[in-house]
């Protein structure tokens, strides 16, 4: 019998650490998942409601028992309300992250966050211009302050649209307005989700879901987009660069500091502090050859994109990084951090350091991070890691060999630059048929899917069929681990795409950043649609989230579809308890926003669905098959 590790992941480094975990009697997410099986059917179908204390209520999916909650809510209503709450949570996570970025930006402009500065001035001015903030006769500081206030106002806006939604093509904007789903203030939409789903408020499934689309748009073209833009101004807009990924980036002889979570506000400072001469000296004194910072999840993607800081792994590799026995500190901020890290780090010498005022976990050393003394705090965190180096027990250390090169940093700006300044060469390649279309593949890992199997196979299948792939989040890390983010990976692409990649010297899979950077994909899609004079929904493009698990992914899926891009989900969302909701999501939305969802766990079949949609769009545009 093959060891379980083989069924759990396709990645050799992950398998090696899973075997180590088994040998050491250490529990991981996969073991905990097994103990959860079989999972509750009501939950899987989305037909359980706990929104008031007359409940919990649940609907019998086979029609023998209760067909309504105490208040009379049907399966359709309950499923729709639950979905809306998932969207609200996802949009809240992205947008609250954005708020913190803007607050840092604002504090920086007021001189209260001295560790930060402006790295991309051109972007600062172009963002200001979008808000009609004049640059004439004004200092950079004044412009920064005014832009920060304008951005901050988006969260509590009560009137008028969110500014960056104006980046969408005219036809899309008109459609949103007609449907009444043009997002207003970011916080407002999220609050309204909670209001509508309170007992006895919104009780029509379609009506509920339309607000879901609006809320998701306030994330994609609001919160997420603001986060991306402000972070670019503060830390620089990513440009192509080389880096390495996978657990093998951890060092045998250096202090390993893992940055895990989502916000670059912290990780940027850690990366800087790791180069501090006094700390490097201290590291030497403690017997280490240096300080090695490596990322996990999207905070890792942020520093990877801007500095080429290595990445140790995807979401499901967070525990395995600790299991190498070589991590001095696991430094976390917010989102996708497993509370299991608390007891796990207790089995090794690893210090589990929580930093966000919003997020604490069991078993942490708490070093709260505030922008006012960002660099100082970052140094304290790195010092804690360095001082922990002598506690590493060599007999517990085993670092996998796998360490893969990758080329990253493809912001929308960088892609346009690689194309020579305009999207025209890409459009020509698509029109000529050498590139069939664009596939946006994103999302998490999920123990329900063999780790990275969905990601890697779906992307390979797309490039083989001449679909240029843009990627973010854990899909990007998975692709990097599988060697798909190097220019040489063009050899795995179909003839047409291969030619284009070789001519431009780019990989067939372009890493566009973290999960909030899916907003970069929207900007790129919008630029292409505008250049062609069509709507986003007319483009030969399709999206996928092969291994999604988080509520953020639900919000992302909803804004991608609402923006006009057909999206295939690799794990089943909890909506099948309502045939009406499932039908609306997978068919009905086509007639509303020009795109819909599909659910297909098999990555090969998912690729076929995306290819079919791309062909359909090509045909409608009069492009050859």
């Amino acid at each position: 019998m093959k060891p379980k590790a083989y069924e759990r992941s396709i990645d050799p480094a992950t398998r090696a650490m899973l075997l180590k975990a088994e040998k050491e009697g250490i529990e991981t997410a996969w073991d905990r998942y097994e103990k959860q099986l079989p999972q509750c059917s009501f939950g899987q179908l989305g037909v359980c409601c706990r929104n008031c204390n007359m409940g919990p209520c649940r609907i019998d999916p086979f029609g023998e028992g209760a067909d309504k909650g105490v208040c009379g809510a049907t399966a359709d209503i309950i499923v729709a309300r639950n979905l809306l709450r998932m969207i609200a949570a996802g949009a809240a996570a992205h947008s609250d992250h954005a708020r913190d970025a803007v607050l840092t930006f604002k504090k920086m402009s007021g001189g209260e966050a001295g560790s930060y500065g402006i790295k991309d001035e051109a972007k600062l001015f172009s963002l200001a211009a979008e808000y009609g903030i004049s640059a004439e006769d004004r200092s950079k500081e004044e412009i920064t302050a005014e832009l920060a206030s304008a951005l901050l106002a988006e969260f509590g806006k009560q009137e008028g649209p969110i500014q960056y939604t104006r980046r969408a093509p005219e036809t899309r904007l008109r459609l949103w307005a007609e449907l009444g789903i043009e997002p207003r203030g970011i916080d407002r939409e999220i609050v309204e989700c909670m209001h509508r789903t309170h007992m006895g408020v919104d009780n029509d499934a379609t009506h509920i879901l339309l607000h879901g689309l609006r809320t998701s748009l306030s994330d994609g073209w609001g919160g997420s987009m603001i986060a991306t833009e402000v972070q670019d101004v503060l830390f620089g807009t990513p440009e192509p660069r080389k880096a390495t990924v996978n657990l093998g980036v951890l060092s045998e002889d250096k202090v390993n500091v893992i940055i895990h979570g989502h916000e670059p506000i912290l990780s940027e400072m850690i990366v800087e502090a790791a180069e501090d001469p006094t700390l490097l000296k201290l590291a030497k004194e403690k017997g280490a050859k240096g300080i090695n910072v490596a990322g996990i999840c999207c905070t890792g993607n942020e520093t990877l994109m801007r500095h080429g800081t290595p990445i140790a792994g995807t979401f499901l590799q967070q525990e395995l990084a600790v299991i190498t026995g070589a991590v001095e500190a696991m430094v976390v901020d917010v989102q996708c951090v497993m509370p299991a890290l608390g007891s796990l780090t207790g089995c090794y010498h690893t210090k589990f350091i929580s930093t966000s005022p919003k997020a604490d976990f069991p078993g942490t050393n708490r070093i709260e991070f505030h922008e006012e003394k960002a660099y100082e705090t970052a140094k304290e965190i790195v010092r804690t890691a360095v001082e922990n180096f002598p506690n590493r027990s060599p007999e517990k250390v085993s670092i996998p060999d796998e360490k893969q090169e990758c080329m990253v940093g493809f912001s929308a700006e960088a892609i346009l630059k690689a194309l020579g300044g305009t999207p025209t060469p890409l459009i020509d390649a698509i029109a000529g048929g050498s590139v069939k279309g664009i596939g946006a593949v994103v999302g998490c890992n999920n123990v329900k899917v063999q780790h990275n199997y969905g990601h890697v196979n779906l992307v390979k299948e797309l490039i083989k069929n001449n679909v240029l792939v843009v990627t973010t989040g854990c899909n990007a890390i998975a692709c990097a681990e599988a060697g798909l983010l190097v220019p040489e990976a063009a050899s795995m692409a179909g003839e047409g795409l291969k030619g284009v990649c070789e001519a431009l010297g780019i990989p067939p899979v372009l890493h566009m950043g973290s999960c909030v950077d899916i907003s970069r994909i929207l900007v790129l899609a919008s630029a292409i649609a505008k250049a062609l004079g069509v709507d986003i929904s007319d483009l030969p493009a399709a999206g996928a989230a092969p291994e999604w698990m988080s509520e953020k992914a639900v919000s992302i899926g909803a804004y991608v579809v609402s923006s006009g891009v057909y999206t295939v989900l690799g794990t089943v969302p909890p909506v099948l308890g309502s045939a009406a909701v499932a039908d609306l999501l997978t068919r009905g939305l086509d007639g509303v926003v020009g795109a819909s969802f599909a659910v297909e766990p098999d990555p090969f079949k998912a690729a076929s669905l995306m290819l079919a949609r791309i062909e359909e769009k090509r045909k409608a545009l009069g492009l050859k098959a």
Partner: protein, 171 residues
């Protein structure tokens, strides 16, 4: 033969067993596909709620040794499988007279609405452990030989006695 034995004190009333039963007896045997099937798959285990005791009790076919349902069934649709000792039902012989329902002490002979025939527990042919037992998160359902189950109960009672507690009191 192994039986589905019930430990009612452990039941939380989540109805996971009922759904697992219906899914197991669906065309597709998959939850996500079964919800769309027509006719709807039927469950054969029932959670009965007793308000006075605020208790949920799983009730399912006892596969009685001297089964009244098989005795009264006029067509032989209900019969005992000689080797497995299960009480089984053949829908093609069933005329929908509900005589069996009248004599079953447990009320566990249900009705397949569309086909108008009886449905009852078949202990999930082809499965090592019946679907309801596997689905129960608290092990309120146990698939065991009566002698083994009684052994467990005896051990529990003995433990309580040993602790100076009265047997039968709450765990």
């Amino acid at each position: 033969m192994k039986e589905v034995m019930v430990r009612p004190e452990r039941c939380m009333g989540c109805r996971s067993c009922e759904i697992a039963c219906a899914v197991e007896h669906s065309e597709s045997k998959s939850l996500f596909a079964a919800v769309g099937e027509s006719p709807s798959p039927r469950k054969r285990i029932y959670i009965e709620y007793i308000p006075e005791h605020a208790a949920s009790v799983p009730v399912t076919c006892r596969h009685c040794e001297d089964a009244p349902c098989t005795t009264v069934c006029p067509t032989g649709a209900l019969s005992r499988e000689e080797i497995s000792r299960k009480v089984v039902h053949s829908p093609e012989l069933c005329i929908g007279c509900w005589t069996c329902s009248m004599v079953c002490n447990y009320g566990v002979i249900g009705r397949q609405k569309e086909a108008r025939v009886a449905v009852k527990c078949d202990l999930c042919p082809g499965r090592e452990v019946p679907a309801c037992v596997e689905a129960c998160p608290t092990n309120a359902l146990v698939y065991a030989e009566v002698k083994d189950f009684s052994g467990i109960k005896r051990a529990e009672a003995a433990l309580k006695l040993a602790r100076g507690m009265k047997p039968g009191s709450a765990l």
